[in-house]
Amino acid sequence: MMRWRCASESDTARAARAGAWPEALRTHAAECRVCRDVALVATALDRERRQWSADLLPASAGHIWWVAQLRARHAAAERALRPIRVMTLVAIAASAPVAAGALASALSTVASWLPDLRIVSAIAGIGGYATLPAVTVAASAALAFLLLALTGPFTRADG
C-alpha cells in the first residue's frame, strides 16, 4: 500500500524552502518516497516564487486605498438615498388610486363634451368622435410614465 504521509514531511518542506538540509533529514529524504516528492516540489515552487517576486511591480497601496474610498463613498451615498427611494415608491403607490380617480373623472368630463366636440369635428371634417377617448387615455398614460421616470424609480442607481 502506498504511503500518504511521513512524519518528516513538514521538516522536509521547510528545509527545501530554506535550502538548508540537516544531514539526518537529507539521508531520510533520500530514502523516503513522500519526502523525496516534497523536496522536489517545494524546491521547484520556491525557484518559481523567486523568479516571480523579483520582477513584480504591484500597484501602490495608496491607489488601492483611493479605489476603496471611492467605493465606500458610493456605498454611503446608496445608503443615504435608500430612504428617499423607498418614500418615492410609497408616495407613487399611495397616489395611484387618487390619480386613477382623477383620470376617470377627467374622462367622464371629456365624454360629456363629446356631443359638442362631434359638432366641432364634423365642422373640421376629421370625424374624430370614435378615436378621441383612446387618444386621451394614451396621452394620460404617457404623461404618467414620464412623471414616474422623472421622479426616480426608473432611473439607475449608478447614474
Binding site: 500518504w4 504521509r5 518542506a13 521547510r14 527545501a16 524552502r17 535550502g19 538540509w21 537529507r26 529524504a29 533520500a30 519526502c35 523525496r36 516528492d37 516534497v38 523536496a39 522536489l40 516540489v41 517545494a42 524546491t43 521547484a44 515552487l45 520556491d46 525557484r47 518559481e48 516564487r49 523568479q51 516571480w52 517576486s53 513584480l56 504591484p58 500597484a59 497601496a61 495608496g62 488601492i64 486605498w65 479605489v67 476603496a68 474610498q69 471611492l70 467605493r71 465606500a72 463613498r73 458610493h74 456605498a75 454611503a76 451615498a77 446608496e78 443615504a80 438615498l81 428617499i84 426616480g152 432611473t155 442607481a157 449608478d158 447614474g159
Partner: protein, 193 residues
C-alpha cells in the same frame, strides 16, 4: 437623484473612517507585507498576469470594505487569500474549478502573459498541467508554508480532505518534474545530482 452626485458630497475620509477596519498606515503595512505573495499566488493560479493584478486589487478592496475582517495579522492574511481565491473561482466558475481533463481546466489566458510564464522554464509548464485547485494547494502548502487547517480555510475545503488532495497534486507534479528532468540543485532527489 443620482448616486455619484450624492457621493461627491460625502467626505472621502469620513466614508473611509466609517467603513474601513484599518487606517491608511495600517493598510499600507498590510499591503506591503502581502502583495507580492498574493500576486505570486494569483499569477500561478490563473496563469494570467493581468487577471492576477485585477483580482489582487479587487481582493484588497473587498478586505478593506469588509464589515468585520479579522484583526489578527495571520488570520487577516488568510482572509485575503480566501477572498482572492473566491474571486478567482467566481471568475472561472464555468471553467470547472474542480478539475478534469487538461482541456477542461485550461482557462482563457492572455497570450502575452502566458508566453511569459512558459518562458520561465519547466516549472511553469509543469504547473500548467495541474488543475487550478492542485496549483492552489501546492502553492499554499509549499510556498506560503500553510498548515492543512489554514489551506482548508483559504480554499473552503474540509480539513480532512487536504491531505489526500495535496498528496495527489504533489505526486503528479513530482512525476511531471522528473519527466522534464528537473533537478533540484543541492536537494535530495535520488535521481538528481
Amino acid at each position: 437623484m443620482h448616486n455619484h452626485a450624492v457621493a461627491a458630497t460625502i467626505p472621502a475620509r469620513a466614508a473611509a473612517e466609517e467603513c474601513f477596519a484599518m487606517d491608511e498606515g495600517e493598510f499600507a503595512r498590510f499591503y506591503d507585507a502581502t502583495v507580492r505573495p498574493l500576486r505570486g499566488y494569483l499569477t500561478r493560479l490563473s496563469r494570467n498576469v493581468a487577471l492576477a493584478d485585477d483580482l489582487a486589487q479587487e481582493a484588497y478592496c473587498r478586505v478593506l470594505t469588509a464589515a468585520a475582517p479579522p484583526t489578527d495579522a495571520d488570520r487577516l492574511r488568510r482572509y485575503l487569500f480566501r477572498v482572492a481565491t473566491n474571486l478567482y473561482r467566481d471568475h472561472f466558475r464555468r471553467a470547472r474549478w474542480d478539475g478534469g481533463s487538461l482541456d477542461e481546466t485550461h482557462e482563457p489566458a492572455d497570450r502575452d502573459s502566458e508566453r511569459r510564464l512558459h518562458l520561465r522554464g519547466d516549472v511553469g509548464a509543469v504547473l500548467d498541467v495541474l488543475t487550478p485547485r492542485q496549483r492552489a494547494l501546492l502553492w499554499l502548502a509549499y510556498v506560503e508554508g500553510m498548515q492543512h487547517r489554514e489551506i482548508a480555510e483559504v480554499l473552503g475545503l474540509s480539513r480532512l480532505s487536504i491531505r489526500p488532495l495535496l498528496f495527489r497534486a504533489r505526486r503528479r507534479m513530482a512525476r511531471e518534474l522528473r519527466a522534464r528532468g528537473f533537478a533540484p540543485g543541492g536537494a535530495v532527489d535520488g535521481r538528481s545530482s
